[in-house]
């Protein structure tokens, strides 16, 4: 290093800054997410109507070819003694909670991916394996995924599940809003089978109106809150309830999009690569000055 002279330094530095200036243009196209489709679909879940029959769980397993254990029996209501979470073999589960208004009518809550409007998983995924589609669905692409599980860290609802017990090709498992069925103009499997119409499938903006209308007509039945309307910037799945959502294990979340400040930080650091290049130039300058000083001292 010490033998390197000043002219070499300058020569290479000039070449370098010239080539560095040409970099930003190629990377400048910031990956702005596609604008949300106004007609994106959603599902309104009315927890006051759900009876906990768990037909949706069975239909979901069938639609996604998931293993149906011999112990799986939708008539077994003992299962409600424990709170369950969606996992790699069940993309949706129903939990039951006591109803303070009527002890004989417990509240049943179906849990699955909320299909956020600004999904943290889409923003976080290292290889962009998640996609927010026009119809509102957030899906996972197994051909890209490297299994880093950062989506699980990022998801505010703790939904993505991982097949820990597979040595080869473990998958991230989560509700895909029956993306394939929807492209064949079929309803999501859970919506189709629901016998009490606790699940309403439709355009998200229409569902919000329906939800507001229901609250207005039956104020004694519902609390005046639509969960998912504003949570983490809005979700495709919306919930109505007769009691506080925090009692039903819904996380208390802000209205900022789930990726939060992460994207602003990232875009700040990498604003067209200017900060890194500026730092590079600064360090280069410091190095040059110090070397010159040093070589002058030696003379």
């Amino acid at each position: 290093m010490a033998t390197q002279n000043r002219r070499d330094f300058l020569k290479t530095a000039t070449f370098l800054s010239a080539s560095a200036l040409s970099i930003p243009t190629t990377h400048a196209k910031a990956s702005e997410p596609e604008a949300l489709n106004e007609n994106r679909m959603g599902v309104l879940v009315d927890t006051t109507v759900c009876i906990g029959c768990r037909n949706c769980e069975a239909a979901c397993k069938e639609a996604h070819n998931l293993p149906m254990e011999t112990s799986f029996n939708i008539n077994n209501r003992d299962i409600f003694k424990l709170k369950r979470r969606p996992d790699e073999t069940s993309l949706t589960v129903v939990n039951e909670y006591p109803n303070p208004k009527n002890k004989l009518l417990p509240t049943d809550v179906k849990v699955q991916c909320m299909h956020c409007d600004h999904p943290a998983c889409v923003s976080a995924c290292i290889v962009g394996a998640f996609t927010k589609h026009k119809n509102g669905a957030v899906t996972w692409d197994g051909s890209k995924c490297i299994g880093c599980r950062y989506c699980m860290v990022a998801c505010p609802f703790q939904i993505p599940a991982f097949e820990y017990n597979k040595a080869i090709q473990p998958r991230i498992m989560k509700c895909d809003f029956c993306f394939e069925r929807q492209s064949e103009n079929k309803l999501p499997a859970c919506v189709e089978i629901c016998p009490t119409e606790a699940l309403t499938f439709g355009k998200r903006k229409d569902l919000l109106e329906i939800a507001r209308d229901r609250i207005k007509r039956r104020p004694e039945r519902y609390i005046n809150y639509i969960y998912g309307e504003h949570e983490v910037g809005g979700t495709s799945w919306l919930y109505l309830a007769g009691q506080k959502f925090s009692n039903l294990d819904f996380p208390v979340l802000g209205t900022e999009p789930a990726p939060g400040v992460t994207e602003s930080i990232q875009h700040g650091i990498f604003a067209y690569f200017i900060p890194p290049i500026a730092l590079y130039a600064l360090l280069g300058g410091v190095m040059w000055i110090n070397r010159r000083k040093n070589s002058e001292e030696e003379k």
Partner: protein, 414 residues
């Protein structure tokens, strides 16, 4: 003083009782590693749907990157600020960083569910993902470190390439390849050195951005938008303590006299650097008002207090004391405390602060996870020992120049 020091290969015996223990630990780690590849992550680790990341990420990757910061801080000091007095720490720090980043890459590899797709980020880009940026920077920086180490390889083998038997026809081409590379790098090395420092500041900070997206799942004592800045500042602060720590251990293990003058000089810089880190950490706390969480007694608040008091405040005070800077033992203790502080900070940030909303049980690493991590560290130490024996990394007093040095001392200047 520095005129009398010259990097040389160490002539020591490789196998000692300590080395034998390390080999055993490494072997133990490999057994669990084999199980992980045969039966999947779930078989060896305590990870579950609520806790997707464990110590392989918090210690092997996050702390590994932080503790390899000695590479870029000493490169900045020695090459960019151009303090020639610190030349002798450059190669050991470079070697540690190079081995460290290699192991970080390995740790990521084994933690990935689909490890064989580790190259995917090269073709599938996601600019909004801080993990993507960390991945790319680490990949490029590791390459830069290998390039920076090439002149050492060249110095060792030019004119001495000696393949035996059927490979002997390779001797000439390899020698001329080394000569060409060495000549080319002599003129362009500064590009890589500056790039190394820039890449380090980028990914050291982005490593902090990683957990910001976990939002409400992170305890407010750690969750702050300035996490990337705190990660960068703590990485810069731990760089020199790590160099001091290694130099003192290496001196003891290889029975050399530690260069106390150089190490005290490094130590003198640690105090202010730690002070800046602490100021931002406390300032952030005051602005966000998170000190209220310290009144609750729980794992998080206790761990936070240990991290800040033992890992930052005590060593901060120590590094400002002349007595500590001049004493081998106290300098070692102070440096160790800073290292523990940063290690704890990374563990706290990735594991302790992370409280998933539906956890049925909390996460504690399994025997398998701990074994693999210890195995990795053992292999790292074993490789370091082998490298300093093969390559001229550690500076030894140059016998030819010692007489000159004596005159210099008599002259009184240095």
């Amino acid at each position: 003083m520095e005129f009398s020091m010259k990097p040389a290969q160490l002539k020591i015996k490789y196998l000692t009782p300590g080395v034998a223990v390390l080999i055993l630990l490494a072997f133990n780690g490999f057994v669990f590693l084999a199980l992980r590849f045969l039966y999947g992550l779930g078989y060896v680790t305590n990870l579950d749907l609520q806790h997707p990341w464990g110590i392989w990420i918090a210690i092997d990757v996050a702390s590994g990157v932080a503790l390899a910061a000695g590479g870029f801080t000493s490169a900045a000091l020695g090459h960019i600020i151009y303090k020639e007095d610190y030349k002798i720490i450059l190669r050991p720090a470079l070697l540690t960083a190079m081995l460290g980043y290699t192991f970080v890459a390995f740790a990521v590899f084994i933690d990935l569910g689909r490890y064989y797709y580790i190259w995917h980020p090269l073709i599938y880009w996601n600019g909004t993902s801080p993990l993507f940026e960390v991945g790319m920077c680490v990949m490029i920086y590791a390459t830069v470190l290998y390039i920076e180490f090439l002149p050492v390889v060249a110095e060792r083998f030019i004119g001495k390439v000696n393949f035996k038997g059927i490979f002997s026809f390779l001797n000439k081409p390899v020698d001329s390849l080394l000569r060409t590379l060495n000549r080319g790098l002599r003129k362009t090395m500064f590009i890589f050195i500056i790039a190394g420092v820039v890449l380090s500041t980028l990914h050291q900070s982005s490593l902090g951005t990683l957990m910001v997206i976990a939002g409400e799942k992170m305890h407010p004592l750690w969750q702050t938008p300035i996490l990337p800045l705190l990660f960068l500042l703590s990485a810069i602060a731990v760089g020199f303590p790590m160099v001091i720590f290694e130099s003192l251990i290496a001196a003891r293990s290889f029975k050399l006299k530690p260069e106390m003058e150089v190490l005290s000089g490094l130590g003198r810089m640690v105090g202010p650097l730690l002070g800046i880190y602490l100021a931002f950490k406390i300032g952030d706390m005051a602005i966000r008002g998170t000190y209220v969480y310290l009144t609750e007694v729980n794992t998080q608040s206790v761990m936070f207090m240990i991290e800040v008091i033992v890992g930052v405040i005590i060593p901060l005070r120590m590094f400002f004391s002349e007595k500590v800077l001049r004493s081998k033992l106290w300098l070692f203790v102070a440096s160790t405390l800073v290292i523990i502080g940063v290690l704890l900070n990374r563990i706290n940030d990735f594991l302790v602060a992370y409280s998933p909303p539906y956890a049925f049980q909390s996460y504690f690493p399994s025997i398998g996870e701990i074994s693999v991590t210890i195995g990795f560290i053992s292999v790292l130490v074993l490789l370091y020992r082998a490298f300093v024996m093969i390559f001229p990394v550690i500076s030894l007093p140059d016998k030819k120049l010692i007489t000159q040095a004596k005159y210099a001392v008599r002259g009184g200047a240095k």
